[in-house]
């Protein structure tokens, strides 16, 4: 061994004049930023409430009587009032979180997997495959997302599953684009060349070299995308393309309460606020994750 152990303790960070650190060098920061803690806590509550709805919600999702309709916020027994059919809004909010969150999170997860695979394959393949994949995705991408979601959901018919499928299809293209861009950025870097020189197959390189680098970026992006998907899901269900009534969903609740806007305007704000706050929470969480994972986009010296 030609190196002598130097007893000075921890290693000095990379040296050699101005040490240029490749774009995307990540390290987890010591302290978790507030932008992760606060939305994280909030979303945890919402998700847990949705999962344990039977235990948490004061009433069933469809229980109610006309005699108790449109009671105001803060009425005894009904913290957030009742809707046009006398059903407790708070309970419906909790029960309605299930389909809404499902329609927000699941499409992103599924599209995330499909989109990443497509983006990575496109970026690492030859020109023909790349063009085929990316231009096909461009067709999808060229439609305004909301319209595409509505069109697909309408074509497939109402229902949670169809809404999820529609949103998944809509989200594949943007995710694939992000993945493709990230991979393109690192494609010509030295460690990729070294990986090629080692004789590894492309699938292996994709799995073991590329993925660890793009995963954090995609995680951040997809987290924010959930925020968007929740709004879309709300929109779809507002139009009646989500779960069938009388089952609650935030978007359809908005629709129902909207009809009584002149009687009890405040009530309609509640599901709207819920959609809004939940969406923002996911967005902020995305930002927070970016900070937490310390993702740089420039070369740092």
């Amino acid at each position: 061994m030609s190196a002598i152990e130097i007893p000075t303790g921890n290693a000095a960070p990379g040296r050699g004049g101005a040490a240029a650190v490749l774009a995307g060098t990540h390290r987890v920061r010591r302290h978790v930023p507030l932008t992760v803690v606060i939305p994280g806590a909030f979303l945890a509550i919402v998700i847990l409430a949705a999962i344990f709805a039977p235990l948490v919600a004061p009433y069933g999702p469809t229980t109610g009587s006309i005699s108790e309709r449109l009671m105001a916020v803060g009425s005894p027994g009904h913290l957030l009032g009742t809707d046009g059919q006398g059903r407790d809004i708070l309970s419906r909010l909790i029960w309605g979180a299930r389909p809404t969150l499902l329609e927000g999170i699941l499409p992103v997860v599924v599209a995330g997997v499909i989109g990443t695979v497509l983006g990575v394959v496109a970026s690492l393949s030859g020109r023909k495959v790349h063009t085929l994949i990316m231009r096909t995705l461009d067709v999808l991408y060229s439609f305004p997302a909301v319209l595409l979601a509505i069109a697909l959901a309408a074509a497939l018919g109402a229902g949670v599953v169809n809404a999820i499928v529609a949103l998944t299809i809509v989200l594949i293209a943007p995710i694939a684009r992000v993945a493709e861009t990230e991979v393109a950025r690192m494609r010509s870097s030295d460690f990729m060349e070294a990986a090629r020189a080692s004789g590894a197959s492309w699938p292996r390189i994709a799995r073991r070299q590329v993925l660890p680098i793009i995963a954090p970026v995609l995680l951040v992006y997809c987290t924010a995308l959930v925020g968007l998907a929740i709004v879309f899901a709300g929109g779809l269900s507002f139009l009646g393309l989500g779960i069938a009534p009388p089952h609650p969903e935030w978007g359809s609740m908005l629709n129902e309460l909207d009809q009584d806007l002149y009687n009890q305007p405040v009530l309609a704000l509640i599901p709207a606020a819920m959609i809004f706050v939940t969406s923002v929470a996911f967005n902020v969480l995305g930002d927070g994750l970016r900070d937490l994972l310390d993702i740089h986009s420039e070369t740092v010296s």
């Binding site: 190196a3 130097i6 004049g17």
Partner: protein, 373 residues
Amino acid sequence: MSIATRIHTPPDISDARLETPRPSRHRGSRPAPAPTEGTLKVEDLAVTFRSKRKAVEAVRGISFTVEAGKTLVLLGESGSGKSVSARAVMRLYSDAVTITGRATLGGVDLFDLDERAMQSLRGRDIALVPQDASGSLDPLRRVGSQIAEVLRRHEVEHGRKAARQRAADLLAQVGIPDPARAVRSYPHELSGGMRQRALIAIAIACEPKVLVADEPTTALDVTIQAQVLELFAQLQQDLGMGLLLVTHDVGVGRQMADRVAVMYAGRLVEEGPGATVLGESAHPYTAGLLRAVPTPETPRGQLQAIPGQPPAAGEAVDTGCSFAPRCVFAVDACRTERPDLVPVGTSHWAACPVVHGRVPVEVGSPPTKAEAS
């Protein structure tokens, strides 16, 4: 500082991160006191970079002198603080950087001047040749125009035409072929070596008393490097300038230095005449450095490497000698008492009490082909 403002400062400021405070728009209305002669004397220079989290002591108290017409080579590896020292002397750092000590040029204390006064001195009496030509030349302006600007700013030339003519003369002086064409060229139209020469032309435009060259040849191919070093020597002779040459290359030091100051971890470890320091070193680090550079004579596998790695800027051990962790001669006292520079020969100092002024193994340069034949 807006881009527009930055372009109006002399193009010797290259580090965008540590910009100088907003420059004044007055052009020489209140010139700095002119240095009487060309000796640059630096005493107890210390430079600390402050960021939100910590303070980095890049230079920890060094002193050196660049005599008129002579070359002092500031030699060191990365993290040694050599570039920082040179730039600090020229006050190229912003207020986020704490600089203490004294730097006098021909009687004028550079650290005592206000920014306006320093600006008129910079480029006129002391000039910088930076390392990276591509970062230092404005890509949107013709080369001649950039030289002419320096001339007019320091009122060496007044008319546009006169300034442009002088720019062409300067380009010729630095050995650029077809100077008339080069004057009209943009930086990207010139090769790397030519750009470096253009930078040198800008630096010598006002015939400064001291030229500070910060790794001027590191990015160049070796045959171009030889040309540029020869140019430096020639210009020094013609203009009688002092030259402060910052480098990590021992060979460059041997070739160019009248005197050498070796830096390690922000401090000077050895200082003396070039041939002596880089031939019969009195400090284990210098000696180690010389033995670590391979020559065709060195038997293979027997390069005497210095174990470990040089500390990053500001990260050296503070108690005892910074080099002790890597030093084969270190004794216990080395880790507790910081050694001062002590005289070890005629105007030759070294900061190593252990070696008593002489490192046992003599390090000579291999016979050159010319010497051998």
